[in-house]
Symmetry: C2
Subunit: 247 residues, 2 copies
DNA sequence: GCTTGACCTTGATCTGGATCAAGCGCGGCC
DNA sequence: GGCCGCGCTTGATCCAGATCAAGGTCAAGC
């Protein structure tokens, strides 16, 4: 069922929308040329699985457009999303040829893939790449730790509010907009995927969304479009410190 | 209340118990000399706070002996541990002078500290250090993601069994012993710290420990000494795949 | 226009783990 | 020796979120 879509034609790194946020952010012109030599694009449509946990993966990649998810499944079907990959995020682990998690496209996705072995060589020879990758990995670790607090200690309502505020902020930062006052965005996930992310059931997600709507914290325009009339009011529902959170 | 203990006298890296697992694992002799020039030891006794979230931290460090914990606290006191740092694990984030989490000593701890600024310079100039740090950070990210599955989807009993099996395995690997059949180890955490780690209350931790004991999965020798008569039986309680888990 | 199926909402009920509360065991200290 | 006080265990009760069950909405396809 998962079928590869028509690949985009290669584009020039100089015009890439994630040029200054992805693993290549710090590269100089000559380093970009090396990356261009080992890169290719692949596209996946919403719902497709990009790779299964345990599969061989002969590339690493940056998300260019769309949203992908990392998730784990237990034998009895319980599922937990463990990473949400937005544009500029990195997929794959250098020096490891098997994937630890299922990677799925939650919206239509375009990846900029690098062949794994030459990419590993670049990590050794191109400090600008390995330094940027270290920084991105540390950021992901911080995000994972904040997620652990959410999963371990937050109420269902706080989980939903936290999730919405994170999506709003990442969406805004991609478009260089501020997150204050009135904010609107599209949810890139189904209710079920949200439940997998938040450690809830889809019914609880739906009920808490309805409850936030009833209380005027959010408005729904269709199922996916969210309007937040007052971002501060949403933040107050997340359970996080008012002032900038943990750091 | 937190008071610095008597510092250990500096020891030679060549005799260091974590020489081949810590951030210095891949260093050559000359690189070790550079590290020795910027290192110093600090010790903390069980229960002391090493640094508070938001504090300035002018060093990074490796855990040499003992166990430290990273944790976050919400305004109303809800607490979640987000990292458990065993010997050879790394504390601190290069290029960031403020700490994101409370770091506390859960047992007596000895740290090998490096002055932060010179360490950052070494990251730029010494690929053996930055490559090892990247690898360790990726390992921590994998561990954090496995922890997210535990927090989001496992039952209290599965959480306890998973925790015990992780401690048993890390304890065994430090002493180069196998984890099959009969295994015994000391818990480095109080029931309350276990609860903070597992997203439970201490009462639930206590009840599930009693339940595993009643079912013969573990034996308790005092409050802290755990004997596992059959490690496979403990593994069967964790909810993980029988065969080696996710990768 | 009708059917189908994916996605979502809402209601009724159940339950695992939280909360509230009491008491035990043991090492440290006067 | 006796009294703390900390860490832990156990019991009774409660409740947030899971589970079970209907039904609604909407776009795609005939």
């Amino acid at each position: 069922m998962p079928q590869r879509q028509q690949a985009y034609s290669p584009v020039d790194c100089a015009q890439c929308p994630i040029r200054h946020r992805a693993v290549c952010a710090r590269c100089e012109t000559d380093e970009l040329e090396q990356l261009e030599a080992i890169k290719y694009y692949r596209s996946f449509s919403a719902g497709q699985t990009i790779v299964w946990a345990g599969d061989k993966m002969d590339f690493v990649a940056s998300v260019v457009h769309g949203v992908a998810a990392l998730s784990q499944t237990m034998e009895d079907g319980r599922r937990q999303m463990v990473g949400l990959l937005l544009p500029s995020d990195f997929i794959g682990r250098p020096n490891r040829d098997r994937v630890s998690y299922d990677v799925t496209a939650t919206t239509d996705v375009q990846l900029c893939c690098f062949r794994r072995v030459p990419f590993q060589d670049m990590l050794v020879n191109t400090p600008h790449v390995s330094q940027r990758l270290l920084e991105m990995t540390l950021d992901e670790l911080d995000a994972a730790r904040e997620w652990m607090l959410l999963l371990g200690r937050k109420t269902a309502r706080e989980k939903i509010a936290s999730f919405l505020s994170i999506i709003a902020r990442r969406d805004a930062s991609l478009q260089a907009r501020a997150t204050i006052g009135r904010v609107a965005f599209d949810l890139p996930l189904t209710r079920e995927a949200m439940a997998d992310y938040l450690g809830l059931t889809l019914e609880t997600v739906s009920r808490q969304m309805s409850s936030l709507k009833k209380d005027g914290v959010i408005q729904l325009d269709g199922k996916r479009r969210i309007v937040v009339p007052d971002f501060e009011a949403l933040m107050a529902e997340t359970g996080d410190d008012a002032d900038g959170g943990v750091y």
